[in-house]
């Protein structure tokens, strides 16, 4: 099983009491609380941690993108990927990912991902996501078109990578008369495509049909298994065989020399489960963004919200793993047994987890955990 290092690049640099006065950290918490000097230092720190994760032995570095929220100030997944493409040497660079429905120019996106792939020597894993509702508000793209735009944007990017230009594209949402990108990915036919899933059966089936790597985020094991069943259904329709290499899973994880230290550090993940997800349903799932099937599945997938769970429940449910390297290895082995995944994505830094703690965790993962789980 391969391990991936992921930081949301949070900006938890304000008094919590201030944030609590707003209905949500997303969209509504005013950016006068954004601290420019601290942001400068944090970006440097977060990139240093990524670069250390590469040297420490992580199989991949995952980067993501959100907007209008202190929970993630990585506002450009391709910018981060381009930096890491140059400053790291070995690990895959997993973009998970580009938010296709809010993209106005898929050709530019195809070029940018290709450029990171070229700079990195073909290390890019190109994740495509539908985004959370907040990004629809941020971009003011009609959420009713979310899935249509996701699929059409995907189709155009793939065509840019796989079919010779120049060609014309006249779709419903995208229109280009002269497509001929002079920047193509190093990997042939194109970088592997990854798709996350939280609640949408349609997405799982769609990814299965195409053989893309499918990664549920922070859901109970039984829901992940159900999503994998949808994935297998799609794969079967297309006559594809599913292996562990097609499946991944995302959790939060930290390790330390002692159990007490690890548990203390892991508590920082509770912030992303609660305060960062607080807000009206309309923010996260605006009108029309989810199909009826997706909405029904979402209710089932989250019988209890992550925010309602205590730290202990989050640990017991494997949403957070925190322990000594040996304990963490046991936990990861359990995930592997339960789900049969080949890729485990670790949200490994969050909130106010400090730099030394983060670096020590990366170091121990590299020295002890990654070699131990590699053969699982």
């Amino acid at each position: 099983m391969k391990l991936y290092y992921f930081s949301e690049m949070p900006h938890h640099e304000y008094p919590d009491g201030e944030a609590d006065q707003y209905p949500s950290l997303r969209l509504e918490f005013p950016n006068r609380f954004f601290d420019r000097e601290k942001a400068h230092a944090n970006y440097q720190r977060y990139l240093t941690e990524y670069e250390f994760a590469d040297r420490a032995g992580y199989d991949g570095l995952m980067v993501n993108e959100h907007h209008s929220t202190p929970s993630c100030v990585n506002v450009g997944v391709n910018m981060t990927a381009a930096i890491l493409a140059r400053t790291t040497r070995r690990a895959k660079i997993l973009l998970l990912g580009n938010i296709l429905p809010i993209e106005e120019n898929p050709v530019r996106l195809a070029e940018q991902i290709a450029m990171s792939d070229l700079i990195s020597g073909g290390r890019v894993l190109s994740g495509f996501v539908r985004g959370v509702g907040v990004e629809q508000w941020w971009s003011n793209i009609n959420p009713i078109h979310n899935r249509e735009r996701f699929e059409e944007c995907h189709d155009l990017i793939l065509k840019c990578w796989t079919e010779p230009g120049p060609f014309r594209w006249e779709g419903r949402h995208y229109h280009f008369r002269h497509v001929n990108p002079w920047c193509l990915p190093l990997q042939k036919p194109h970088p592997p495509v990854w798709i996350p899933g939280t609640a949408s059966p349609e997405t799982a089936i769609w990814a299965g049909r195409r053989g893309y790597t499918f990664v549920p985020f922070l859901v109970p094991f039984e829901i992940a298994r159900e999503l994998f069943d949808y994935y297998r259904q799609g794969a079967a329709e297309a006559g594809r065989t599913v292996t562990s290499d097609n499946l991944g899973f995302l959790i939060c994880a930290v390790t330390a020399a002692t159990r007490a230290k690890a548990l203390e550090a892991g508590r920082h993940f509770v912030w992303r489960m609660g305060p960062t997800l607080r807000g009206p349903a309309e923010f996260f799932s605006p009108v029309g963004m989810r199909s009826r099937a997706g909405a029904r599945f979402a209710l089932k997938a989250r019988p209890r919200s992550l925010a309602a769970m205590s730290y202990e429940e989050l640990l017991n449910g494997h949403f957070i793993v925190a322990g000594t390297p040996d304990e963490v290895i046991d936990r990861f082995a359990r995930v592997r047994r339960e789900l049969g995944v080949g890729h485990l994505l670790l949200e490994a830094q969050e909130s106010r987890m400090d730099h030394p703690t983060t670096m020590r965790s990366i170091e121990l993962m590299g020295a002890k955990v990654i070699p131990a789980v590699a053969s699982l």
Binding site: W137, N140, I141, N142, P143, I144, P280, A281, E282, P286, V287, G288
Partner: protein
């Protein structure tokens, strides 16, 4: 007299329509909340006019229209509906996004319409304020914002009092989705509508609630200035739903205007 419900086919789309009353035809176009059927004001107006109240495609019990992108599409569709239903050149009354639709229809084909009644129509960008982002709020929070005072509304309990059972709940979601499809961007307005409104020489009545928190009353002034033959009536202690909030006053206004002899 009892109204009837009928499916009227326009091209490939079935349009669920309430029909009833007597007299000249009056086409009534509903707002984002959907077709509320034979409510009190409509019963009053139907004593003098034959009311045709279609449910917009994508709303309520009408067929889908995923292909539509904006209110201009809906306006062209309802001009087609007028032909399909054989209404000649009916008077047209539209509320909120239905009012916006009616205004667009009049700019496209003024001769297809008799007199025009616009009730708190969206469609113009306010010169100073903003149109409330109705999609940003949960429906339960939005509803009280649409009116001046729920307690003063005779039909409040009948229309909004009971929790929604599954079918109306599904329709409410559908109505919201179709409204988003038609109005998301530019939000609730057509940046070029002001250029075309001067074409509308039809005699027009604009009705607004002074306390409208959805579409500010200043838009009523803008419509009045842009339409060559329009009068604006602003109702006190009234929000965004004049036909529901003040059904009798509203029905009298409509009848008086449609039966009057033009400008007063």
């Amino acid at each position: 007299m009892k109204p009837r419900e009928q499916m009227i086919r326009v091209a490939s789309t079935d349009v669920h329509t309430w029909i009833g009353g007597q007299g000249d035809p009056l086409l009534v176009l509903h707002g984002a909340g959907g077709n509320r059927g034979w409510t009190r004001w409509l019963q009053r107006v139907a004593e003098r006019f034959t009311v045709w109240a279609p449910t917009h495609p994508g709303f309520g019990l009408s067929g889908d229209a995923d292909w539509m992108n904006g209110i201009d599409d809906l306006a062209r569709f309802h001009l087609w509906f007028i032909d399909a239903a054989g209404l000649g050149a009916p008077h047209v009354l539209g509320h909120s996004i239905g009012g916006w639709t009616a205004a667009e229809m009049a700019t496209m084909s003024p001769a297809s319409i008799g007199r025009l009644i616009l009730v708190a129509p969206a469609g113009l960008k306010p010169e100073h304020g903003e149109i409330l982002d109705i999609f940003y709020y949960p429906p339960s929070q939005l509803l009280p914002m649409t009116v001046h005072d729920p307690k003063s509304i005779p039909e409040w309990d009948a229309l909004f009092g009971a929790p929604l059972t599954p079918q109306p709940q599904e329709i409410a979601v559908r109505n919201r989705e179709m409204t988003a499809r038609l109005t998301w961007k530019p939000y609730m307005h057509d940046p070029r509508l002001d250029r075309f409104l001067p074409r509308v020489t039809n005699t027009a009545l604009i009705v607004w609630g002074r306390d409208d928190r959805i579409v500010p009353v200043e838009c009523g002034e803008q419509y009045r200035r842009l339409l060559p033959d329009a009068r604006l009536v602003v109702l006190e202690r009234c929000g965004h739903l004049p036909p529901v909030e003040q059904p009798d006053v509203f029905a009298d206004l409509v009848i008086g205007f449609l039966e009057g002899d033009g400008r007063r």
